[in-house]
Symmetry: C2
Subunit: 206 residues, 2 copies
């Protein structure tokens, strides 16, 4: 095998392991997921897995850095760029990612929130990485809120960072309570209430 082929194969098997491990851990939690259960979802050997991830913990860390972090930005932040008013974008993404998601998917909760609740207090490596995911998520929303302030859609008197923190908090809260109730009917009322909050950030037309 050429070196180029070998490194392409390594990259592909890494992706395959990460995708399988993400799915298992998202569905069952980190503790409840075994390396064997992950391997069963791939065509790879245990040797191939341990070649790339020395321990289950290393694999867990890679899932946060290489799967959850980019996924969070792709689902909740980057799409806002196509909305003139970022608040419309935030509501649209909630509608798309929660309102239109099947109940079975929502029962799994939010990958970030799940791992925070399970791992942030007991493992410093998870904690540091999940903290970074949350910070970048807030950073991304803040940037769009500032854009909305410049374009006159959002009051200039509010602190964009605070709005961004509240938006991210409410996403975690939406996922948490929908998972707890296993019933997304509550989504509609939560979204209306979030709109009441946003209404308080709109410049009054006089």
């Amino acid at each position: 095998m050429t070196r180029a082929n070998r490194s392409r194969n390594l990259a592909e098997s890494r992706k395959e392991i990460l995708a399988a491990a993400f799915g298992e851990i998202f569905a069952h939690g980190f503790h409840a997921t075994s390396i064997d259960a992950i391997l069963e979802k791939t065509r790879l050997t245990k040797g191939a897995l341990f070649h790339q991830f020395a321990t289950k913990l290393d694999l867990g860390y890679a899932i946060v850095d290489e799967v959850i972090a980019p996924m969070t930005m792709a689902r909740w932040v980057h799409p806002l760029a196509s909305f003139e008013n970022p608040v419309d974008g935030i509501l649209h993404q909630l509608e798309r990612n929660i309102g239109r998601a099947p109940q079975a998917a929502l029962n799994l909760g939010c990958p970030v929130n799940n791992l925070i609740q399970e791992m942030a207090n007991s493992d410093a490596g998870f904690q540091r990485r999940l903290h970074r995911v949350i910070e970048r998520w807030i950073d991304g929303i803040e940037m769009h809120i500032e854009r909305g302030q410049k374009s006159g859609h959002i009051l200039k008197s509010v602190t964009a960072r605070h709005v961004a923190e509240y938006v991210v908090m409410s996403h975690e809260g939406f996922f948490g309570i929908i998972k707890g109730l296993r019933d997304k009917r509550i989504f509609r009322s939560l979204l209306r209430s979030l709109e009441v909050y946003f209404a308080g950030l709109i410049p009054r037309t006089t």
Copy 2:
């Protein structure tokens, strides 16, 4: 031993086990907590524990029903009765239970939220019990919101249930993000934003 003594002893050892198990599971999660770790925090034997709880799962269920459910009502719902305006009470309890709580306690998150994220999707018994805790929490807040509508503190045009759902969602969200960041400085800005939401529910004085 008389029958009365025996049943008093059983009740006391049940309380002791539940308190120890709650502490361990709150700190480490359900999966990561062993019966041995719980027993180490008590003066009881394994036999005494299994006499009351046939399995670790039974013990987990009892923690939700007998510890977490009443604790949630005692911390977040019952105290609202002493506030003429329930919104003042909600903000006061957040200040007291989160704003003034030590960071180390907040790093543990919310007992309800932790168990939802870890167990609600994988175990129907936990799911049913945690669902009931959330429903009663919402019921309790709803009752106080209705009282606030009658006394003129809250707009009669809003649906009390929806406000209650949003309030409970935001509690879970506050705990979730503070645990994720391991930094309660964000609490101050979240509370201000929640006040922006509440401001949208106040009757306008004309």
